[in-house]
Symmetry: C2
Subunit: 337 residues, 2 copies
């Protein structure tokens, strides 16, 4: 354990893609818990497109990170010191512990996890918020039906890859949209998607005519922008569009590009609904149990894309999400054990 | 009765606002019914923003009007000749009879109306498709609740003025957005809206902060464009946005302006749903009966803005919808009785 606690703090609100100067690398002493507190040695950090939104000023579905604060991040780790009756040294936990090596916590929002059931990084992805987002977005917001043709954008990403697999498990057809032949092959060959569209080389609207000849019943959108517009032209009557995110727009320096084809909602009597996964927190345990069961049965593959390099590597690792480099859940390894 | 049947036919597909050269004025002999047919002398034509969409190529929720065809229009009139067992000379009817003085019909889509219950033009508006659109858009698609703050755009128009009044009748708060002080006064003083915002002189988002301090629960959108974007920033959590139309965009020569603020759907866990009134045809009778009851009780005011001049005046009259000149339902009087 290093005697210091390396942290990454927000130095400035970025315009467009975050620059190195938007971050401060700080070293502090490892904290000591007071009564009711404990300290977690963080092993892995979650990297999420939503982080870009947290860096903007103004309240959204969650308060922004203030300039000067440790950057917010989901993390897993091990309790190394405790004055808290609910958490003992050696316990493994998940929480929004921030981009740092050691986090002081009063236990709020921190949950126990079991490393014997799944590797720690899986609790940041498929058994964590991204898996929960896929599960509740598809089943609750999207009201998935067995007869649906489901299209998922960002399909090789953390949320999309799980969403498509859950659609298949529930008996629906799943078509993924991803960037690059390798990702598309992975979706079809390894994850069992019925089809994949490479948006970098294919015309998405035209490809959907082939892959979804009767139209798209449920579109799970992670990206926004041109892909959202293309799918809107190929909806089935009564289609449901789940707005989970818009990674193509998070670094927009001019205004966000709204979906020009939104009047397709009228033509197809369709709906577009936004979701925030935290609303389903009371049911996370049940959902994670179900997903873990599918993983055990080999019906759902969880993939993590683990970046080495510790918290210093956080600024660069975050950018991978926006260049579309990652496959599966992007995770930063913090410890060096 | 004129010995000829004056008609307006689509001469060319317009780019932007329809020009005089996009129309052909044609005279044909008044038709004679064959077996199973009847002829209607049209008294009034309905003018609807949706007509602009019917003039574009490509299937939408309804087939386009072909170049050379009589322009599609809802109409009311009186049967003047009949070889049809269901319609007798003297009957008053409503149907999509087209921009002409005399229509030949086989009865498909034509319904009997009773001029003793309401003036004929009311069957084109509040007791016709625009009233039905307001009713089902608000109650079925929008799932109106008594506790809702409802915002209606195009509020002084045919659909909007009825939607706001139904919201009030159902116990909700109604805020209208309209262009001009006179329309706004009419909404509040005559129709009983709780407030009105003049988008020509007020900042809509700022005004909504006053009129809907807890946010907009249900937004009934007839206009799209900047106003939709402004309302999206002021939604309440779980808000429902009903997309009924987008009159600001129908004459766009470049691409339609999509709502840049659509990610508010995520922030507010809101939905945006498109509607087409024809889907509710089976329940039109029940809805019209209920609306007629409110009119009789003096709780719902129906206003028609009647343009004189016969079918020749159709091209100019249509443009009034896009310049926002009409208050209430815009109707063209065809007969000269």
């Amino acid at each position: 354990m290093s005697p210091t606690n390396r942290q990454v703090r927000l130095a400035a609100r970025p315009s467009g893609l975050p620059k190195p100067s938007d971050w401060d690398h700080v070293e502090e002493p490892v904290p000591t818990p007071a009564a009711g507190e404990f300290v977690v040695a963080i092993s892995h950090l979650s990297l999420d497109p939503a982080m870009r939104g947290w860096m903007n000023p103004g309240a959204s579905y969650i308060e922004p990170v203030e300039v000067g604060d440790v950057m917010r991040a989901g993390a897993v780790g091990r309790v190394t010191a405790s004055e808290h009756s609910g958490f003992a040294v050696g316990d493994h936990v998940y929480g929004a512990l921030g981009v740092q090596e050691h986090a002081l916590s009063d236990g709020k929002g921190v949950v126990m996890i079991d490393p014997s059931l799944a590797p720690l990084p899986t609790y940041l992805g498929t058994l964590g918020l991204t898996g929960m987002t896929a599960y509740f977005g598809l089943l609750d917001v999207g009201k998935l039906k067995e007869s649906d043709t489901v299209v998922v954008s960002g399909a090789a990403g953390a949320v999309g890859s799980v969403a498509g697999q859950i659609a298949k498990i529930k008996g629906a057809r799943a078509i993924g949209i991803a960037g690059g032949a390798e990702k598309c092959r992975w979706l079809v060959d390894d994850l069992g998607f019925d089809g994949a569209i490479d948006y970098k080389t294919e015309d998405v609207a035209r490809a959907l005519r082939e892959h979804a000849p009767s139209g798209v019943d449920l579109y799970f959108d992670n990206v926004g922008g041109e892909i959202l517009d293309a799918v809107l032209t190929r909806l089935a009557r009564g289609a449901r569009v789940v707005i989970c995110g818009a990674v193509s727009q998070y670094n927009a320096t001019e205004s966000v590009r709204g979906p020009s084809n939104y009047l397709s909602l009228l033509v197809y009597r369709a709906s577009m609904t936004g979701m925030v996964v935290f609303d389903y927190a009371a049911r996370f345990g049940q959902a994670a149990g179900e997903i873990a069961g599918w993983m055990r049965e080999g019906r759902l593959i969880s993939r993590e894309d683990i970046v080495e390099g510790g918290v210093q590597a956080f600024p660069d690792a975050l950018l991978k999400l926006f260049s579309g480099e990652n496959v599966g859940k992007l995770v930063l390894r913090v410890d060096s054990d």
